[in-house]
Symmetry: C2
């Protein structure tokens, strides 16, 4: 089968034998996969990754059932797993990120417990977004957002666009601040208000601010914009040390919440409900054997989601 291999920043496509299927695992035929910013970071050399990347995917089982899969492979035995927080299991591997080959190949494997059936109403290319939509929904698992709450979302990349839609669908009044009019326009149908990032951010203005900028300036701006006793959700992974001004966070008693992966159930519901639209976020599709070109395209400024399709699907 075809399999993407990433090493020292080079994306290559190789022929490999079908993966062996361990007990409790399923072999899944890839239908479509998405290139995520994390994949581009792996290419840039973070985490010293080498192997097959890819963790956003939809595939099918031997009986034709379409499935998506949670990306953390938990041990199932530790305290974290017992508390239902396998996503924080210290012994976990992570699909396409940590010691488990990823989804950019014709056949992949995952534990059966990780799989979720994709409802008929959700097209394959939309279901590829389950993982990032779950990451957006994770915010609702971590903090209380009352209906009608004013929430500012900073950043109009893929994650920012999803977070804005998810929180608006939940009932918040979302203001999305970004640099790209044409990207922000994609979510205005949902009732999200959009504005270009102002030169000077409004201070103490929002009870909840989500930083999805992916930049150190984003977190600093989010802290300054947040009301006293308010909450800043940290959705951007920025590598290295981020200089932040802790004084306003302490004086205004702001809570900063680190937020990562989420459960798939609410994300599937969001996608099935039509309250979150992802089709417009797909910039381009490439066949799996053109993965190097697909990675280059995904890394191009202004491009949103790039999908990979195996040759047969």
């Amino acid at each position: 089968m075809l399999s993407v291999h990433l090493e020292n920043g080079i994306v290559a496509v190789k022929k490999q034998p079908l993966p062996r299927v361990a007990e409790g695992f399923a072999r899944i035929r890839l239908l479509a996969a998405g290139i995520c910013s994390t994949d581009l970071e792996l290419q840039r050399g973070y985490y010293g990754f080498s192997g097959t990347p890819g963790h956003e995917f939809v595939g099918e089982l031997e009986d034709g059932t379409r499935v998506a899969g949670e990306i953390n492979l938990a041990c199932g035995h530790c305290n974290w797993c017992a508390r239902g927080l396998g996503r924080h299991c210290p012994n976990r591997t992570v699909l396409g990120i940590v010691r488990h080959p990823g989804a950019f190949r014709e056949f992949l494997t995952l534990p059966l417990v990780n799989l979720h059936r994709v409802p008929k109403s959700v097209p394959t290319e939309h279901a590829v977004f389950i993982e990032p939509v779950a990451a957006a929904c994770e915010i609702l698992d971590q903090i209380k957002i009352a209906k009608g709450s004013r929430v500012a979302v900073l950043g109009d990349g893929k994650l920012g666009l999803l977070v804005a839609q998810v929180l608006q669908a939940h009932g918040a009044k979302v203001l999305l601040l970004g640099r790209h009019r044409e990207k922000m326009r994609l979510v205005e149908w949902s009732g999200v208000t959009t504005e270009p990032l102002p030169e000077k951010m409004p201070e103490r203005a929002f009870p909840i601010v989500v930083d999805a900028t992916g930049s150190p300036e984003g977190l600093r701006a989010a802290i300054a914009m947040c009301e006293p006793r308010g909450t800043v959700v940290m959705k951007s992974t920025v590598h290295g040390l981020v200089p932040i001004d802790t004084a306003p966070a302490i004086v205004n008693e702001i809570t900063l919440v680190g937020s990562r992966c989420g459960r798939f159930e609410p994300a599937l519901k969001m996608l099935a409900s039509g309250k979150v639209r992802v089709g417009d976020l797909i910039s381009e599709e490439f066949p799996l054997d053109r993965a190097p070109q697909a990675f280059a395209r995904a890394a191009t400024k202004g491009v949103l989601k790039v999908l990979l399709r195996p040759p047969s699907s």
Copy 2:
């Protein structure tokens, strides 16, 4: 009356007329005041302060009632005040810090609503600690700490020693990590376990970590020590930008809570109950007219609380 004046880093003692008392305010005769790290920061030039500093005090009213006073003078009319959060009122002045002359003088003024009667069982020199004890108690107003929870407190300065005692008194199992054996020994009577700061901090080890180190390294260490989904309480004001590694905070979904001043009621209860002992934290007392020497002493390494007493008390 004698009044301490701070300008351009110089502490001086001046003679001044008695302060006028506006409606709704009380004139309070100073009995004792404490020099806080914030006062030393004002001396170092933060906030461009000039005037009379001092916000930790006990005084008496004309009828001899001993009182302590909340330091934030709220407007009483805004949304924050309506929510009982006058400590975050954007129009507030702050005793000895922001546009209201402080307590390092023979007579000071504060709104009647700010005053709390000091119970007979609490000696004046202990009641001076109400404000910092309230700052420690504030943690209990912000986050839930179950009885028996393991909490790490980093830093054995005055605030760290108070936080450790308050959380232990609340029922947590506190480990205090600091650099000074002799300071940490002062709180061991309460059941707090103490250990010298290790070369390498234990990772993912505590559900709750309080950073009271006053150093940028403290916050980084606190994040590393915190369990996934755990809470780091930020009690240190560090000036300027603090470089922190946001990646572990996000991957482990850690919540960082900025924490500042607190309500006086629980602090008075803590002091009256004897569950928090502050007498041992007093390093030295100076008369008010030797304020310059007192400030110098308070800034000396290893010194804990320095008190000022007016000449007549």
